[in-house]
Structure formats: structure tokens, C-alpha cells
Symmetry: D2
Subunit: 138 residues, 4 copies
């Protein structure tokens, strides 16, 4: 029987866009959901840094999986907000999210996004958002 991490990794692998970016789910715990994206040439912007859209993808997806940890797999991301604080460069982008509140119908989560260069992590963005449980139709 697969672990919770393995099940969540399987979900990520069924997202074609996550496969395109070679994203990996590397933690799936109550205190931390972690998604890693290798920094390749094709995910950059015109100045050589990781495109903000990739950083927001990583934050969005980590927030969603964190919400899914609390609410189960039938979820949808309602909204999130992100502040970019430093340009992202290096080998790997890491988004770490955790739940700050979970009720029956929604979870509110926070996420920090780091860039790893030469083994050192630098905070690049912080995010906060809402994951909603999908309502069952009668």
C-alpha cells in the first residue's frame, strides 16, 4: 500500500504541467509540504532569473498539496497571494507550505519559496492562500 507521500507524488505526476517542469514532491507531512523544481534554462525570464510565473506555480501547487493534506484529495485552490522578495537563481527552486488553519470546508496555508545555489537556500517569495474542499453534489 502506498504511503501518503507516494500517493501525493502520484497525483503530482498526473499533472502534465508539473511533469513539464520536472517538479518533484519531496515532503508531504502535516508541518511541511515541499515541492522542488529544477532550475533549467527554459523556466527563466529575460534577465536569467527564474520567471515569476514558475515561482507562483511552485507556491500555488505547494499550497494546494498542503491543503490536500488537511482536506483530502477533492480540493480546489480558491486564491492565493504572493510577494516576490529576491530574484531566484541557482540549481533548484523549493516551495514549502504548511496549513495554518483547517476547517471542514477550507484550509488556509502559507508557503515560502527558496532558491538553492551552491547548497545555500535564499528566500525568494512568500505566499498565503485558501484551499477549498469541493462540495458534494446531491
Amino acid at each position: 500500500m502506498p504511503t501518503a507521500l507516494e500517493s501525493a507524488q502520484h497525483v503530482l505526476q498526473t499533472q502534465p504541467f508539473s511533469v513539464l517542469l520536472a517538479a518533484q514532491l519531496t515532503a508531504f507531512r502535516a508541518d511541511c509540504v515541499e515541492i522542488r523544481v529544477p532550475i533549467t534554462a527554459q523556466i527563466k525570464q529575460q534577465f536569467g532569473f527564474v520567471h515569476g510565473g514558475v515561482i507562483s506555480y511552485a507556491a500555488d501547487n505547494a499550497l494546494t498539496f498542503a491543503g490536500g493534506y488537511a482536506l483530502g484529495p477533492s480540493i480546489v485552490t480558491s486564491e492565493f497571494k504572493i510577494n516576490y522578495v529576491r530574484p531566484a537563481k541557482g540549481e533548484t527552486l523549493i516551495a514549502r507550505a504548511h496549513v495554518v488553519y483547517a476547517g471542514q470546508s477550507q484550509a488556509v496555508c502559507r508557503c515560502d519559496v527558496f532558491a538553492v545555489a551552491d547548497g545555500n537556500e535564499t528566500l525568494c517569495a512568500v505566499a498565503q492562500g485558501t484551499i477549498a474542499a469541493m462540495r458534494k453534489t446531491a
Copy 2:
């Protein structure tokens, strides 16, 4: 001499991630900056809809170009917020942004993201964010 639209299109083409997504800048005016992303299999999530990360990319980039219309090319996206309101499916994703306030140091912009299916546009997400002018170093 290139038009403002052509110059902005050139900038978009120097973003490898925008090239990867085949994004096109289709309007660059004071009242509307428009970015279009063709909906292909590789930008979807596990349910067959466009991945939220692609929608946030489109919003982020449209907000940034709208800010750039007001502030010039030396800009950085500080932050944005996005609400997803409907799943995105169809042929094309369209993000339309405009400036609601521009000062010397920053512009605040709004963006609507639509999915076009069979020629009909459906609102999928709304966003709001801040684009900052980069300070000159002495």
C-alpha cells in the same frame, strides 16, 4: 522603428518560460495589455483543466507588462493576488490587465483571465498586484 507593441513583444520573446508556453503579447495599450497562451495538453493539471500555475503565470506576466506600459522597462513585480473562479478549458487562455494607479515608483494593476472555448470567453480568474520601478543605484 518598432512600435511599443513590437518592442514589448520582443521582450516577451526573450523570456524562455514564455517561449516554452508559446505565450503571445496581443495588445499593449494604456487600457489593456493582453497575453494569450494556447491551451495544450502539457499545461494542464490532473483533471484536464489548465493548471492554476499557468493561469497565475498569465496573470503575473500581464500585470507586469501593464505596469511596464506605465513605468517603462526597468521594473520588477512586487506582489500579486489571484482568485480562481472557474476551471479553464478550451483553446486559448487570455489574460487582460490594466493599470489602476501609476506613480513614479510603482503601478497597481488589475487583471482578468479568460478561457476561450469555441469562440466564447469565460472568466476564470481575477488578479491584482503591484509592479515596482527599479531604483537606480548611485
Copy 3:
């Protein structure tokens, strides 16, 4: 029988904090919910402008009533985001909100906040947020 505007005005008058600020609901329509707050000395900050907390109150409440127009009175404000764009001064603060999406369980709304000085409106803040319908308990 009271009109929808009158019923909504009655709700506002049952909010002690809105009474404290002498807030008035001056429109309650599908396209515009409007809340006005007189600018008195006691709602200012240290530089003589309206305190950001009052601007966020006005935005929060206008968003909530706009959501209530779409979803009915059993609602709760889930979240919102606000950008302050100019200091607010003059006689009256006006927050105008409208629904951009309404489903069964939530409405996403936008709001513009203006300050009126000598009869002229100046945009001071823009907001966007989510109003949720309260789930019935079995």
C-alpha cells in the same frame, strides 16, 4: 415591506463598529454596493490622513455587502487584499464594490475606495476578496 437597500441598511445599523464610524450604506445594487464613511478627526492617523485601518474597514464591509447581494445574508468574509494607492483626505470616504463571480458557495468581489474632497473623488485604494456562504449544519 422594506426594499433590499433598506434591509441592508438595517443590517449595517446592527453593526456597532459601523455605527461608531457613522458608516452609511448608500447603494445596494447588482452593479454597485456603496458604503460612505464621514472623515472625522477620530478616524485619522498621525499625518492627518484617514487611517489605513478605516480604509480597510470600508473595503471589507463593501465587499461583504456586495457578496451578500449575490449570496444572501448568511455569509462570512473569507479573505481580501487591498492596495493603498493615495492618502485619503477630505470630507467622505466612499467604498464601491461589485461582484465579479458568484457561485453557490462563494462570491468574488472587487472594491474601489475613494476620498471626496471639495466634491472631487480621488481613488485611494483597490481591493479584491472572497465572501463565502455559510454552510448549513445538519
Copy 4:
């Protein structure tokens, strides 16, 4: 000579709106800026809970003072986002903010808002926002 806390407390007391709400600045450190608001009848909404506008005031102001700790007193709050997670009731509202990133021109801060009832703290809201240093004019 006043301490940093005393100086910041003095600033808070020069905000008429903070005086109206009897807000107190109870910590002003690198790791925590804390603002307390007594929960009185006049700051409630129609269901007897603290009005969301007061919670957003507390978050806004705690974020601003946290930004001020990093950037100095010449600052302006650019934007913030707040998620309400539980109704606030009890004796005191506490907003605690800290800086997650500070550069020369802006600080990005996070804030948690708690309600204290019978000595127990309950998380009611989480916020994230940007405080900007005011640019010197030549």
C-alpha cells in the same frame, strides 16, 4: 532617552483612530511587533463578534509597525492581504507581526491575529503585506 518601544508607543498614540480603539503597542522587537485592542461592545458586528474591519485594522497596523522596525519611521503601507479563519470573541485582540524580508525600499511582513478569551489565545486571522520606505524628494 526613550526606548524603541516607547518611541513606537508614542507614534501609536498620535494616531487618533488607534486612540479611539484604545489600541496598545505591547512589543516592538525584531521578531515580534504586537498590538492589542480591547474587545468592547462598540467594535463588534451584528453577531457579537469583533468586526472584520477591526481585525484588519489590527493586522494593518501591526504589519506597518513591523515594517517600521526594519525601515524606520518614514514608511507607508503599500498593501496587505488577510484571511479570516475564526470569529473573534473574548477580552482582547492581539496582532503579532514580524518581518520576513527587508531591503532598502520595502519590507514584507506577516501577521497573526488572535482573540484572547479566558486567557486562551485563538488564531482568528493571518495576514501578509508590504511596507514601503518613502522616497526622499530631491
